[in-house]
Symmetry: C2
Subunit: 221 residues, 2 copies
Amino acid sequence: MKTGDFNVGNREISDAVIRRLPRYYRFLGELKDSGTERISSKELSEIMNVTASQIRQDLNNFGGFGQQGYGYNVELLYKEIGRILGLTKMHNLILIGAGNLGQALAGYVNFEKRGFIMRGIFDINDKLFGEYIRNIPIMSINQMEQFIKENNIDMAVIAIPKSAAVEVAKKLVDCNIKAIWNFSHIDLDVPAGVVVENVHLSESLMRLSYAMNTEKYGKEK
Amino acid sequence: MKTGDFNVGNREISDAVIRRLPRYYRFLGELKDSGTERISSKELSEIMNVTASQIRQDLNNFGGFGQQGYGYNVELLYKEIGRILGLTKMHNLILIGAGNLGQALAGYVNFEKRGFIMRGIFDINDKLFGEYIRNIPIMSINQMEQFIKENNIDMAVIAIPKSAAVEVAKKLVDCNIKAIWNFSHIDLDVPAGVVVENVHLSESLMRLSYAMNTEKYGKEK
DNA sequence: TAGATTGTTAATCGATTAACAATC
DNA sequence: TAGATTGTTAATCGATTAACAATC
């Protein structure tokens, strides 16, 4: 097992488990802030509305963080999950697309709390070049490749229309970007070793639409 | 079976299926736009990178839209999925929070294509009152309840800090809002009959962080 | 020590995939 | 008609829940 490899043994950790980790992290953070020192899987399960069994199973993918008869130390567990999620490392990132959504993302300071530092913003609109959002310069997309190399960038946020996203993603991969946070409504095709996390807002809206639609006329409970 | 109730028989349709519907819709829309008339589950499975079996199983939750020996008519299937997702209906919605993210969401015109019309924006910052984003007026949060009643609003987008989100959600529920698209980093607790769809960007970022972290040091494939 | 609660194994449940008869 | 492909049943796989011995 190499450094940074958290799963006990070498089993593959299921996506379902990983999807739940940030939520555990959020609740533990709140408990920590409220001064709670210890918590049992049972208590946490009631707060989070999941089963205690699931909590214990999930955590034991990564190690035995609890203690029989006591439960879990909140601060320790919070820190461990943070480490598992990679939040203790720093990453330099860039944003592509200074439209509405891009500007909102650039203005979102909470990234930095998690170790993600936005270094540059790229767009095709030359009216924006030279401007800044929170000290982050907006530059021409033509300068992107050079900037990535010179600034040790390993992650990119894509917030441009889908017609341009595929080409930009290709360039990013060529520049050895390791992670793409994709807000464009398209599935990006990247080689192994590059990770993509999609935020498809329109799909989220459609799910809400479905739920509204079936709730209204659905069978009574 | 009542109008608007799409599931065949009366089985509960699993969340896993529903989460895939918008993606089918997106791919079918692209196929339709490119002039493709018919497609088999096999062909679609190759484009979408899923199994043909899963596609057929998923669709047959809602009805037999295909034809043996032929496959599926793209335009018909696209329309059916749109209907299932409730995209043929109109909804009036409001936005709470005219910060960076809220402004980005207000500027996002694609909602309207799906039948979601933003009628008003509410904030606590009095410097914004009287301003407009795309003809949508920004008003005081104090006017919200009256506005909802007078404008037949059935959905709200919450894009405010989590400290204020719980209270606003409570007010919305009292005003008979049926759906909440929640961008605040908190789990909203709403009564049965009200649906919530969460977009937790920070959790998405953490998942990307996890993937980066394990990819780098992970076992070679 | 007795009580509490974990870590872990076993049982159950649900979702995905495979197979194939029905049928266009 | 023969070939293709669906709709659907059966088999498999994986995830969740339950149970309990280990142990703090």
